[in-house]
C-alpha cells in the first residue's frame, strides 16, 4: 500500500506512472493503449479486454461458419471478418474515447483535490501545534500567576493578623489614657491623644480592608444572609453619620420611600459597610451643599443612591474609582488620596450579592451620585 502510494505520486501522463485501477498496467506493467493509463474502469469493465474478446469471438464464429458451409476458410470470409473487426475497432475506439476522457478529467480533479487536502492538513497541523504550544505557555504562566496571587493574598492575610495585635495594644492603652486611668491629662495632651486614637482607628480600618480583600480573593468570604428591611438599615447608617455631616454644615437627609420596600435577603453587616462607606465618602468630599440618600424599587431590584454636591468625578476617576490599586505611569497609586480601599471592598461585597455598584457625575465640581443595585430575589 505504501509502495503503491509512492508510485502513484508520479502524476498522470508522466512516464513511469502506474495506473492502479488498470489490471493490465498493475499486474503486467503493460500498457496496450496510451489511454489505458487514464482508464478508471475496473477489471470486468476493461474496454481493452472487451474489444479483444469480442474480436476473437467474431473471428472464430465466422471461420467456423465458413468451415461448416464450405469446408475451408474462403478468402472472402477472411477479408470480411477482418474488415468487420477493424470497423468494429474504429467505432469502439471512438465511443470509448469520450468515456475515458471524462474519467481522466475526474481522476485529475480528484488528485488535485487530494493534493490540496494534504497541504491543507499539513498547514492545519502546523497551526494546531503552534496554538497548542502557545496555550501550554499561557497555561503555565496562568498557573504561576495564580500561585503568586494566592501567595500575595495569604501574605496580606497573615501580615494583617500580625498588624492587628500591636494596633489593639495601641488602641487599648490610648483609650485607657483618655479615660484618665493612669494620670489626669492636660487638655492639650488629651487633644493630641485623641488624634493618635483616630489615626490608629484609620490604620485599623485599612488593615481590615486589606484583610477583607484577601479573604475575598482567596474565596474565603462567606455571606451570612437574613431578611432585611433595607430602609431601616439605611436609616441606622444615616443616624450614625449624621453628626459628621452636621459638623460640616451639610444638609443631610434620607428620603424614605412612601411605600415600604420588600424585605431582601442580604448579609446586613456587609451591605451596611457598603452604605456607610458611600455616605462617609460623600461627607468627606463635600464641602458645602447637601447629601441626599434614596432607596427605591426599580423592576425586580432595589436601588440605593447617595447623591452629593461635592467634588465630583472626572471620566477617568469614574472608571478607576472601584479598582483597588491602579498601575499608572508613577507605579501603584490610589485614585484619590485617602479614599483607600473602601470602594473596592464595597464593589466586591455588592458583587457577592449579585448586585451592581457604579458612580455618575457630570464632571469635576458638579457633585456625584453613587448607586447600588441589589436583586430582590
Amino acid at each position: 500500500m505504501e509502495k503503491a502510494k509512492k508510485i502513484s505520486k508520479k502524476k498522470i501522463g508522466e512516464s513511469g506512472y502506474i495506473n492502479e485501477n488498470c489490471w493490465l498496467v498493475k499486474t503486467l506493467n503493460y500498457t496496450p493503449y496510451k489511454r489505458c493509463q487514464y482508464c478508471e474502469l475496473k477489471f470486468h469493465n476493461c474496454l481493452f479486454l472487451h474489444y479483444q474478446i469480442i474480436s476473437l469471438i467474431l473471428i472464430l464464429f465466422f471461420f467456423t461458419l465458413s468451415f461448416l458451409v464450405e469446408g475451408k476458410a474462403s478468402e472472402l470470409v477472411i477479408i470480411a471478418v477482418f474488415t468487420l473487426v477493424i470497423v468494429y475497432g474504429y467505432f469502439f475506439n471512438k465511443s470509448t474515447d469520450k468515456l475515458i476522457q471524462a474519467n481522466f478529467a475526474q481522476r485529475k480533479a480528484k488528485e488535485a483535490l487530494e493534493e490540496l487536502a494534504e497541504t491543507l492538513q499539513e498547514k492545519v497541523d502546523e497551526q494546531t501545534k503552534k496554538i497548542k504550544d502557545a496555550y501550554k505557555k499561557l497555561r503555565k504562566a496562568y498557573e504561576e500567576l495564580k500561585v503568586l496571587d494566592k501567595a500575595k493574598s495569604e501574605f496580606i492575610s497573615m501580615a494583617s493578623h500580625q498588624l492587628r495585635t500591636p494596633l489593639t495594644a495601641i488602641k487599648g492603652y490610648i483609650s485607657m489614657f483618655l479615660e484618665g486611668m493612669f494620670n489626669h491629662l492636660s487638655p492639650k495632651a488629651r487633644e493630641k491623644m485623641e488624634n493618635v486614637f483616630y489615626s490608629n482607628e484609620r490604620l485599623i480600618k485599612i488593615v481590615n480592608d486589606l484583610l477583607n480583600i484577601s479573604k475575598i480573593e482567596l474565596g474565603k468570604m462567606e455571606l451570612e444572609k437574613e431578611n432585611v428591611q433595607i430602609e431601616d438599615l439605611i436609616q441606622s447608617c444615616c443616624e450614625e453619620l449624621k453628626i459628621e455631616a452636621e459638623k460640616k454644615g451639610l444638609k443631610f437627609y434620607f428620603q424614605r420611600p412612601k411605600k415600604a420596600l420588600l424585605k431582601i435577603n442580604i448579609d446586613s453587616l456587609k451591605i451596611r459597610q457598603v452604605i456607610l462607606n458611600l455616605i462617609d465618602n460623600a461627607i468627606r468630599y463635600t464641602q458645602k451643599g447637601e447629601i441626599e440618600i434614596k432607596a427605591e424599587k426599580i423592576n425586580s431590584k432595589i436601588q440605593i443612591s447617595v447623591r452629593d454636591t461635592g467634588e465630583g468625578l472626572t471620566k477617568e476617576e469614574k472608571k478607576k474609582i472601584f479598582e483597588g490599586f491602579t498601575r499608572g505611569a508613577a507605579g501603584i497609586t490610589y485614585w484619590i488620596e485617602g479614599a483607600g480601599l473602601g470602594l473596592y471592598v464595597a464593589k466586591k461585597y455588592v458583587e457577592l450579592h449579585r448586585g451592581k455598584i457604579w458612580a455618575e457625575s457630570k464632571g469635576k465640581g458638579k457633585g456625584s451620585t453613587f448607586y447600588v443595585e441589589l436583586p430582590i430575589r
Partner: protein, 125 residues
C-alpha cells in the same frame, strides 16, 4: 465579684486587659497558653473565660475541645476574643459553644468590659 480567666499569649495585651478588668472590679487570672488555661480553670472556677484563638502549641479551638471533656469546667461560658477572624474558625468555635466571637481591634478595653458583662449572670456583676 465576678471571676474571669483571660487566656492570651501576648503579654502586652494580657496585662492591658488585666488592668482594665481589675479596675472594673473583676477578679482576673491570666493564662498564657491552653495547658495553663485548663489548669487555672479547674483551680479558680471562673465565671467566664476570655479566650484568644491563636495560641502557641494548642490553639483556642483545641482548648475548647479539651474544656468540653472536663465535666467540672465544661459549663463555664467562653467568649472567643481574637484578631483571627476566618469564617471556618468562627463556625468551629460557634459549634463548640462559645457565647460570642469578638474581634480585638473593634473594642477598647472599656468597651470589652461592657460587652463581657452581657454574658455574666447579673448577680455576679
Amino acid at each position: 465579684m465576678a471571676k474571669i480567666l483571660i487566656i492570651e499569649d501576648k503579654k502586652i495585651l494580657a496585662e492591658m486587659y488585666q488592668d482594665k478588668f481589675s479596675q472594673a472590679g473583676f477578679e482576673v487570672s491570666l493564662a498564657f497558653n491552653s495547658e495553663e488555661g485548663i489548669r487555672l480553670a479547674k483551680k479558680e472556677k471562673p465565671d467566664l473565660i476570655l479566650l484568644d484563638i491563636l495560641l502557641p502549641k494548642e490553639n483556642g479551638i483545641q482548648f475548647l475541645k479539651r474544656l468540653k471533656m472536663v465535666p467540672e469546667i465544661s459549663k463555664i461560658p467562653v467568649v472567643a476574643f481574637s484578631n483571627y477572624d476566618e469564617p471556618k474558625t468562627k463556625k468551629e468555635a460557634a459549634r463548640l459553644g462559645v457565647k460570642d466571637y469578638l474581634i480585638k481591634t473593634e473594642f477598647t478595653p472599656a468597651e470589652l468590659v461592657e460587652k463581657i458583662k452581657e454574658y455574666l449572670p447579673s448577680s455576679r456583676i
